[in-house]
């Protein structure tokens, strides 16, 4: 039944896409003197209906994102962007910034934008090979915040750097879901984050197989208020498998990543670690060992229809209803995110939010997917995710720790 509904939706969707391809959208840009404007719109429609257990997530269609963006330049040296998600009632604004680009070695950007941390988080969700970001990309990377950043390219573009100051710690730790009991988010709990990232492409000027090999390292640090503000572990669908701990002191993030593409194939790996201090957070106000959230992922993609991944598979060689059936890509991601403490404090491990020795928990996920790029405006993503929670008591299912979820996404961008 659920598959039938899905097929019906795709069949309704396809003729529209064909028409769109034939009409050819006019370029949505305008120029008035030195003032240039580009308009963009992007949409996500999700069908959540392939789960192995209804407790994990109800079957439903979700109009997930409706992003409208305006960007452009004022004269040649000043860029701007204003991007909003009309489906987000609480915090609709995404990127809102100005960038002074006169010197490519040292551009200055101010406003609201992504804190430079985490390859997966820094990749647009509309360019991601999967329906959901990785666990660490969506939860251990900070996301967007207000701040000022200096960035540029040096050493013949082989080194790209970004570094800046931000008011808080990004929006990924401001939980938008309904809060659990005992959770208070009256104001962002992390203040004055300093973050920096360096991307290296040492062989970019060569013609060998390593030309598209890229490494990234990033670090971020901010002061976290006393309170129940520790990192929270959530499954792909938002179930909390690790509840926040009481923290206080500094929050420090480290991360490394690598990306390699060669023709239709790409491999990506990333590791992130977040450490929260717990100064005077124990029973009797003693200091506790830091609580640690860390994780990794390994991604492989393969464009079956031969498109060059680095060149952009989103523009298939043979778009649907014109010369072919579009572009096809298969993708897989293995990942893990785990939570623990840096020491035992001489105690047995417990789950209470002031435990010296935090009882660890972990989510391991395998995502298998297929992406169908119909044309340069549209794609359909099929993802199946199998997750395994380490601690049965903190699994979303009463009787088991392993479960499947599935989602089909329709994406439209212009």
């Amino acid at each position: 039944m659920r598959l039938a509904v899905l097929c019906a939706c795709v069949l309704v969707w396809l003729p529209g896409l064909a028409a769109a391809q034939e009409v050819r959208f006019p370029p949505l840009s305008f120029r008035a003197g030195e003032f240039r404007i580009f308009l963009g719109a992007r949409f996500h429609f999700d069908f959540n209906g392939l789960d192995s257990a209804p407790e994990v997530r109800p079957d439903e269609f979700v109009f997930r994102r409706a992003r409208l963006a305006v960007d452009g330049r004022i004269y040649d040296d000043l860029e701007y962007e204003v991007d909003a998600d009309l489906r987000d009632d609480r915090r609709p604004w995404r990127d809102v910034f100005l960038n002074y680009r006169k010197f490519s070695a040292a551009e200055v950007q101010g406003g609201k934008f992504k804190i430079p941390f985490g390859l997966d988080q820094l990749t647009s969700v509309f360019a991601n090979s999967f329906v959901s970001r990785s666990l660490i990309g969506s939860q251990l990377s900070p996301g967007r915040d207000q701040g000022v950043m200096v960035h540029g390219r040096v050493a013949g573009d082989r080194v790209r750097y970004r570094g800046g100051w931000f008011r808080h710690d990004g929006d990924n730790t401001l939980y938008t879901e309904e809060l659990d009991e005992n959770e208070f988010v009256e104001k962002p709990p992390v203040n004055h984050t300093i973050a920096g990232r360096v991307d290296l492409t040492p062989w970019e000027q060569t013609k060998g197989r390593l030309r598209r090999l890229q490494f990234g390292v990033n670090v971020a640090s901010g002061g976290v208020d006393d309170g129940l503000f520790g990192m929270r572990g959530r499954t792909v669908n938002g179930f909390t498998f690790f509840a926040p701990m009481y923290v206080g002191g500094r929050r420090t993030r480290y991360g490394v990543d690598g990306l390699w593409t060669s023709g239709p194939v790409s491999v990506v790996a990333e590791y992130n670690r977040v450490t929260d201090q717990r100064n005077r957070q124990g029973l009797g106000d003693v200091d506790l060992p830091d609580v640690i959230a860390q994780g990794w992922y390994l991604v492989g993609t393969w464009a079956l229809t031969g498109e060059n991944k680095a060149g952009g598979i989103d523009q298939p060689r043979h778009p649907i209803f014109q010369e072919g059936a579009g572009g096809f890509e298969v993708v897989a991601r293995f990942e893990e995110m785990r939570f623990s403490s840096a020491g035992t404090g001489g105690e047995e491990p417990f789950t209470n939010p002031r435990a010296a020795n935090v009882l660890p928990n972990r989510d391991r996920a395998i995502t298998l997917g297929a992406n169908w790029y119909l044309n340069r405006f549209s794609r359909v993503l099929f993802n199946a995710v199998r997750e395994t929670i380490q601690d049965p008591v903190r699994s979303p299912l009463v009787d088991r720790t392993r479960f499947w979820t599935g989602v089909v996404r329709l994406q439209f961008t212009m």
């Binding site: 009991e181 005992n182 006393d226 009481y246 005077r280 957070q281 124990g282 029973l283 009797g284 106000d285 105690e347 047995e348 417990f350 789950t351 209470n352 939010p353 002031r354 435990a355 008591v393």
Partner: protein, 424 residues
């Protein structure tokens, strides 16, 4: 040298003996020791100071905080506490529910999964709750065991509390004996009455949501029809069964003789906020036995007892459908009056040893008076040093005097009224 060696051996022996004396009692502690009302216990909780401040600031919320619990050398880490109570909630002396298993499902303390630290803010005498439960047990009905404690939070004295045994599966198993199959009787349906409106056992129709004032404490995940369907059936039967079938039909739900006994004990204690409370039913649990329709009331939260010596024996009997229809039947009215006389006799029963020596037994203090005096002497110092209680020491002493008056005069009043009631 030999003398020195012998001395060392002797010192070692003393140290070993001392170690045994220190560690021995801790290893031997039991639940009975914890509820031993012959001593004032000392309970220590260690919290983060911000949590204690937050608990007091948010005392109307049921927010849990982690703590470690220490009693007589036994320390239990990883325990959850929260503010509790209805009218007794207090920001200066919060009543506490202590859940041993809140963060660790299998953790117990002396076999207990939880207990209550009653803050005694509604009773200047501090004795009513403890004395009432002891009287219920004395007259053969199950009731929580209780004892007194000085509570310390982060090594600071925060007041005198009563340790109250929680009504849960453990309590049921200890109190109700064996089930029909010879096992422990505790796997039925337990409900805590949740006071939200004035209610006196009227039938509220077939919508089961109406009956969720009986808050499920066991088997909570079962279907509504499974949990509250029999409650609705029972209340419908109590309300709609014709008089001539009432005994037969309603007896499938209650041991009506035991129900009459429960009501009589509440009345003897001049309970103004119980099953026949001034603002409707309040302060009780109901347990539905395993594989049965049979239910039983269980006493809870008795700090509004000892209202007055002349609290009438038929107070609000006619306001409550279940009480009115049950006591309209002569055999249960007789059970009710007999229990009042039992209670009077039990309350006035002199100490056996003293009675053997005394010429005039009637002049000896009865059981309730002796218990008041015993416990008053035991808690007096701690109670007077409790600066967090909402009453002055003068009010404390006056309340004790009031209790003693009740203890001396209540039985006589009740006996006279029972005789009068029987003459009608």
């Amino acid at each position: 040298m030999r003398g020195l060696s012998a001395a060392r051996t002797g010192v070692r022996a003393v140290l070993v003996l001392a170690a045994l004396l220190v560690t021995g009692p801790a290893a031997a502690q039991s639940m009975d020791d914890f509820f031993n009302d012959g001593v004032v216990h000392e309970i220590r909780l260690t919290l983060n100071s911000k949590d204690w401040a937050s608990l007091k600031q948010n005392y109307k919320e049921n927010i849990y905080y982690p703590t470690s619990l220490t009693w007589q050398g036994v320390t239990v880490p990883n325990v959850g506490i929260r503010s509790r109570g209805l009218g007794s909630r207090s920001p200066t002396k919060p009543g506490l529910r202590v859940d041993i298993d809140f963060y660790s499902a299998n953790q117990t303390f002396l076999g207990l999964k939880s207990f209550v630290l009653d803050n005694l803010t509604q009773d200047p005498s501090m004795l009513k709750e403890w004395l009432s439960m002891a009287f219920f047990r004395r007259l053969g009905l199950p009731a929580p065991r209780e004892s007194f404690a000085r509570l310390f939070v982060n090594d600071s004295f925060v007041g005198v509390y009563v340790i109250v045994e929680t009504i849960d599966k453990g309590f049921l198993g200890r109190s109700l004996g064996a089930d029909s199959k010879g096992g422990t009787e505790n796997d039925g349906y337990l409900f805590e009455y949740d006071y939200i409106k004035e209610y006196r056992f009227q039938y509220m129709g077939s919508n089961l949501d109406e009956y969720k004032i009986f808050k499920a404490k066991t088997r909570e995940k079962e279907a509504d029809a499974q949990i509250w369907g029999p409650i609705e059936d029972m209340i419908q039967a109590v309300n709609e069964t014709p008089d001539n079938n009432f005994n037969r039909d309603v007896s499938t739900y209650f041991d009506l003789s035991k129900l009459a006994r429960h009501l009589a004990i509440e009345n003897f204690l001049a309970e103004d906020d119980g099953i026949l409370g001034y603002a409707g039913m309040n302060n009780f649990y109901v347990y539905r036995f395993e594989d049965s329709q049979r239910m039983q009331f269980l006493a809870w939260d008795k700090d509004n007892t000892f209202r007055s010596v002349d609290f009438d024996i038929m107070t609000r009997v006619n306001d409550n459908v279940l009480a009115r229809r049950t006591l309209a039947l002569p055999q249960y009215k007789n059970d009710y009056l007999n229990t009042l006389l039992d209670a009077a006799a039990s309350a006035m029963e002199p100490d056996a040893e003293a009675a053997d020596k005394a010429d005039k037994k009637d002049a000896l203090p009865g059981w309730i008076e002796r218990e008041i005096v015993r416990q008053y002497n035991q808690i007096r110092t701690a109670a007077r040093s409790d600066t967090f209680k909402p009453h002055s020491n003068t009010e404390f002493e006056a309340a004790i005097e009031g209790l003693l008056t009740f203890a001396r005069e209540r039985a006589g009043f009740v006996k006279d009224r029972v005789a009068e009631e029987r003459r009608r």
